[in-house]
Amino acid sequence: MLRTRLRGVTFTDIVVWLIGLIILVGMIWGSIATIRLGKYSASTWTDLIVTGLALGGVYALIALGYTLVYGILRMINFAHSEVFMSGAFTATFAATGLMNIGWWDRMPILSLLIVLAVAALVSATVAFLVERIAYRPLRNAPRLVPLITAIGASFFLQYTFRGLYGSGLKGYPEMAIFKGEIVFFGIRFFKTQLVVIIGAILMMLILYSIVQYTKIGKAMRAVSEDKDTAALMGIDVDRTISTTFVLGGASAGIAGILYLILFPVAHFFMGFIPGLKAFTSAVLGGIGNVPGAFLGGIILGLLESVGPSLFLDGLGIPAAYQLKDAIAFTVLVFILIFRPSGILGERLTETKA
């Protein structure tokens, strides 16, 4: 048994495993050193964990768009990060408008719903258009081709919104009812974080039930299994794919608002990094798998907020928080190399992967 497994191991495998091992040892060593150092108190750690959970919720929601599309088309929708940006950026203007007419503080729930609707609508429209123009005509092209159009669409959208709304930063107004903090069981939550966590969980449940229990969800799952057979069964494949993009777009738009509640500044480049991290989450959880996206998002959020302090401080790296993105990308690289099927994903066959 061991012998047959060892026979398949090549020199490159050994090198890759060695690099992984070095990083793992570094992480553990760093963690032990940090804990022995005792630089951070218990409440600091819980704060970091709560921050990570909120961040993870946002990543999870964006990751859903990647997962849904990958599940159905086996392609990475590279432009999804710009779908996220477009809704959030546009909704900022709606929020400012509502603030100016005084609704923002007088009718916060209604205003929030309006802003969410605007974001979801814009993002869904953008996602729909991207699919219609850039992906649908190329559905049977070689695999590199839709990837290149996706990169093109991503840049086009980024700089279109830069042209439309300007290249400056745009502040998202804070809501009075979200100010302050709440203490549960001795753990301190900012209200904004709580809103984001609850909102993300709620959205995940809604989307999960759409995919699992509705007719269109059934159609989506059928198309992701086999497009041709689904078409023979009377499912309109084009329409189902469009719906998938709209659904993923809407959830990205809502994720955009949640992201703005946490980090209240919108700009045309805001999609790139969260988008890449959300993709990491999707792969981490198992791409194509809805609960996996949630799990991956939470794990990545935690790694990113706790990671720099835990792994890197102990190694004596100055200003470790600067490397939080590097941690996320390292996770991305390693998950793709070692287990591209993710935590919950099935082992994909060569043709599918």
């Binding site: 850039a134 086009f156 042209g163």
Partner: protein
């Protein structure tokens, strides 16, 4: 209810005109119309901005009309109404903009834009003028279609050259002013801004005349090798004297173009030959530049080397880093490979930026005082001198890339690109083959980086961002993946042209993005395609046409 066929086709035309109008609206709101309004095609008659908001509707109408087969009167009616329908999005913008201040959201929805769209009139007369002009413009599409196809082609070519000449007025004059007698002739065509009306008419007549010149039937016969060498020699001569021909104003731009040609030739091996989509390609450029910086800058190094001493180290380190990147991603294919390389590029950038590695890499401040290359007593520091350094490297790299292409290694790369499993079954060692592709690509990019560092005598992490990788990828796709002349074409068009039109700079990546999508949709093989890839991409058509030919025989 049964629709008469004419109404049906009318609806189709209106729909595409409306899409054209939507594009025009987008161009207006993004700010391109406003920015380009200051540049004239024909002085005081037509501005580039006006072309930008009228052309989309015209083009949409022309394309959809071409598919319609109706009698003349109906075509003219259709084209006229298409212009009215197509102007509606802009009319809507004007009407809304008159009531509400859109500027709070759309930064470009300014009175200045409205003035351009209404041709300087007030709101209502302006709207009327816009609709009428739009209808007249699309009417020309209908009229054009009445002509013979030869006339159509000649006219389209004429107006295209008119547009390009007007757009590039400043450049053409800067170049030709250096060439005494030519300057007088050229100046006759141009006004202070764009072409003169008389010059425009003349230019149109010349191009149309040229389109009708008696043409020999070009048979598709194998080009004889002597003619090919002469063309190649001609191109080489042009490149050799390019700084002298174009003048000092262009040297900086030429350096940039050459830098991207070097990188493009490297990525061409990775993506074009071996089919490995690398989105973190800038990392190798950065590694080349930083190695040069670290080894030669007295800031970080007690014993600074000279450029030529440091060069071999930089080359070797770039190659090794290519192998290091290549090793873990050997098993990955397609999109996952792209994402992993993108992640690598970002990690490299973040590490360079961090305080952690600042003592060695200079952090956000970068590295200054990098050595300039010296030959004997001559320090290569002016842009023209550096151009020749770039050119020397380009010649070497082109030669290597060209020889590699049909070598055993090159054919192995292409085999892996087409089908990895089959290639491996045929006995190709995928590990060394792929690693060699990464290493060669990294080497070329690293060389480009060393000259970049020597040129600026400093490197900053901010100049090593993801956009550089996208630039290289875009020029490769425009020129044609796997094609060496394609790299030159792509770099000249995508890197050279934007630097020449300073208004364009702001919309550069918008246009690149649209270009990537459009190329993939309409011409995936690129402008100067490599033969084999062209065959692959049009395999079905090829098979179809040969089978049809076989049947008719």
């Amino acid at each position: 209810m049964v629709c008469p066929p004419f109404l049906l086709s009318l609806r189709k035309i209106w729909r595409s005109a409306l899409i054209g109008g939507g594009v025009a609206l987008l161009l207006a709101l993004v700010g391109m119309v406003g920015t380009f309004h200051s540049r004239s095609v024909i002085n005081n008659v037509v501005s580039v901005g006006q072309v930008l908001f009228l052309f989309p509707v015209w083009y949409a109408t022309y394309v959809s009309l071409r598919q319609m087969s109706e009698e003349r009167k109906k075509v003219l009616i259709a084209s006229l109404t298409a212009g009215i329908v197509g102007s509606l999005p802009l009319v809507l913008l004007l009407l809304i903009g008159a009531g509400i201040n859109l500027r709070a959201m759309f930064v470009n929805a300014s009175p200045a834009l409205y003035k351009i769209l209404t041709f300087g009139q007030n709101l209502w007369p302006g709207v009327l003028v816009l609709i009428v002009v739009s209808a007249l413009v699309t009417l020309t599409a209908g009229l054009l279609l009445q002509l013979s196809s030869r006339w159509q082609r000649a006219l389209i070519q004429g107006f295209l050259w008119l547009f390009i000449a007007g757009l590039m007025r400043d450049l053409i004059l800067t170049v030709t002013n250096r060439w005494g007698p030519l300057a007088g002739v050229v100046q006759f065509f141009f006004a202070a801004n764009g072409l003169t009306p008389l010059g425009a008419v003349l230019l149109l007549a010349i191009v149309i005349g040229l389109a009708f010149r008696p043409r020999r039937q070009v048979e598709s016969q194998p080009v004889n090798s002597r003619a090919r060498w002469m063309v190649l020699g001609g191109i080489a001569l042009i490149f050799l004297f390019l700084p002298q021909i174009l003048g000092p104003f262009f040297s900086e731009i030429l350096d940039n173009v050459m830098m991207y040609i070097l990188m493009g030739l490297g990525l061409n091996i990775v993506v074009g030959y071996a089919g490995l989509l690398d989105l973190g390609y800038v990392a190798f450029f950065a590694i080349g530049a930083y190695t040069m910086g670290i080894l030669t800058s007295p800031e970080l190094n007690a014993h600074p080397l000279t450029y030529w001493q440091a060069l071999p180290f930089a080359m070797v380190i770039a190659m090794i880093s290519g192998v290091i990147l290549g090793l873990p991603v050997l098993k990955l294919r397609g999109d996952y490979l792209a994402i992993v390389t993108l992640g690598f590029g970002e990690i490299v950038r973040l590490l360079v930026l961090s305080d952690w590695l600042r003592p060695w890499l200079g952090g956000t401040q970068g590295i200054q005082l990098i050595a300039q290359p010296k030959i004997g007593n001559l320090t290569l520091q002016s842009q023209v001198q550096l151009y020749y350094l770039f050119l020397a490297w380009v010649v070497v790299v082109v030669f290597i890339a060209w020889r590699l292409k049909d070598s055993r290694l090159g054919r192995s790369w292409m085999a892996l690109r087409e089908d990895e499993d089959v290639a491996r079954a045929m006995g190709i060692n995928h590990v060394t083959t792929k690693l060699l592709a990464f290493a060669t690509g990294a080497l070329f990019s690293g060389i480009s980086g060393t000259i970049f560092a020597a040129k600026l005598t400093s490197v900053y992490p901010h100049s090593m961002n993801f956009l550089v990788s996208i630039n290289v990828l875009a020029l490769l796709i425009l020129g044609g993946m796997g094609s060496i002349p394609g790299v030159f074409v792509g770099a000249l068009v995508l890197i050279g042209a934007p630097e020449l039109l300073r208004e364009f700079a702001e919309y550069r990546y918008l246009v690149y993005g649209a270009l990537l999508v459009a190329m993939m949709l309409y011409r995936p093989e690129g402008l100067w395609p490599e033969e084999r890839r062209k065959l692959e991409l049009h395999e079905e058509e090829f098979v179809e046409s040969t089978s049809v030919a076989a049947e008719t025989e």
